[in-house]
Subunit: 318 residues, 2 copies
Amino acid sequence: MKSEDVPGLREIEKAAERIAGVSTRTPLVESPALSRRAGCEVYLKLECFQPIKVFKIRGAYNKISQVPQRSVVAASSGNHGIAVAYSSRLLDKKCTIVVPENAVEEKVSAIQEYGGEVVRVGKISSERETKARQIAEATGSAFVHPFNDASVIAGQGTCGLEIAQQLHDFDSVLVPVGGGGLISGVSTALKATKPMTKVYGVEPEGAPKLSAALKAKKVVSIPSPSSMADGLIPSALGELAFKICSRNVNGAFAVSEGEILAATRAMVNEARIIAEPSGAAALAPLLTARGRRLGEKVVVVVSGGNISRDLLARVLEA
Amino acid sequence: MKSEDVPGLREIEKAAERIAGVSTRTPLVESPALSRRAGCEVYLKLECFQPIKVFKIRGAYNKISQVPQRSVVAASSGNHGIAVAYSSRLLDKKCTIVVPENAVEEKVSAIQEYGGEVVRVGKISSERETKARQIAEATGSAFVHPFNDASVIAGQGTCGLEIAQQLHDFDSVLVPVGGGGLISGVSTALKATKPMTKVYGVEPEGAPKLSAALKAKKVVSIPSPSSMADGLIPSALGELAFKICSRNVNGAFAVSEGEILAATRAMVNEARIIAEPSGAAALAPLLTARGRRLGEKVVVVVSGGNISRDLLARVLEA
């Protein structure tokens, strides 16, 4: 499969074989307290149980296990970089991650702990991607895009495949949307296995890439995207993700910063689970009237749990 | 079955039928981060996913669903009272809970929210039990003991039955010990279904009831038991629990307050799960050299998640 091809169920099944034993088959559990609050059965797909506490290991490992090069390069300010470093070490490949000058030190440390070499460049994501592609070309390394890549999307799709295996019937799935890799993979797996299930994206009001793209019927770039959900602020969907989402996705919810904070807090107070804001965001529509039309059984993809101690303290205080 | 009889697997299976749909079949999940830290595969049985965030619903509902009386009485400073109130409401019975004068207001509110009438008496648990038994006699109500009761123990045993169904083979199970109801039920279920599995109790150094009883070969009363793990400080095992534990339990770990705090913190930082100290305590031996001899696959019963906001803040700061 070429990196710009649309992956199907077969590619996701192959990815599941490749990542078995590396990525965890994460639990899918009903939360009685959240169900009571939302007025429907709420099931949480807990990607915070991954070895690196975030779903990104699925796509990164699936991709890197297939590249012929002995070294890889990625641009990231966070979870993708950790996933690439972690996967590269397991696959015995050299790894370089281009991070912003103002990167969070905890995340830089995690990349280095897994043996990744860190290069600091500028503050804007396009600068980082340009630099990473330059390094890849100069060193003959593979460039690993965080979402606009068929193998990465197929890897993320294993999360959807697991949901389909873990729960018999359900009405809707809510998936957080950054560049669209996760929802592309999850929706592909679910439309193939549970065609009646509806798939919705959830994104910050400050970075409504999916809402804008579905409306304009093309990729739309959001100027100055921002949110406390730092995994959900790429300025645009990937072209491949847009192609897939426009077929598979039933709609998008743009949620406010207050709603994201409330969802993160509800995860802690009601479900006793610590999620990062990007991971809790998909719960947000269920805590408002907008969630009423999602059906009797709703799956929420809790994409990760890498929250800083300071932000967690703020969530608890509020 | 009389309340002083030793329950067997059959009673636990019957309890599982009674509580189905009320108690949750809680998830049993491996935590990759805790496994890495402990040097063995660590599986968490997450009782914090119960509707009232604690295992006590299993025993309380099983008991109350069998009593002929239309009203019940219990003495409790916390989780047992919440479980009795919650179960009574579902079973349409009147419920009175005797709590200490200095009871935590959050727990009193929870009891009242579920329709329980609250009576405040003294500060010592024996005073509360005496008062509760008086009320039961005067009103013709059923008295529900938190642990020294065959139906309560059979109900708690459903937790062990689920573990046996959820995981094929494992070496050891660590269970927190208060009055001994949970470990009595869990060990009965496991010795009947997985006879090679070892079952260990974990208790605070400030309340080493099980260690003392196993050594003395009789129930021993601990003067002034104390711990931040407020679910683990009855002064002695129940007589019935002692009888069962002396047959089934392979040993006891007494853990320090520092170890309990560290285990609660590790649950948050490594597994992204919020447990109360009584619930996290069973993890503590795995974080020290004492856990090395427990085998390759170890199940930790995380008995509950009812931690106050203040204590959680302290856990996060430490």
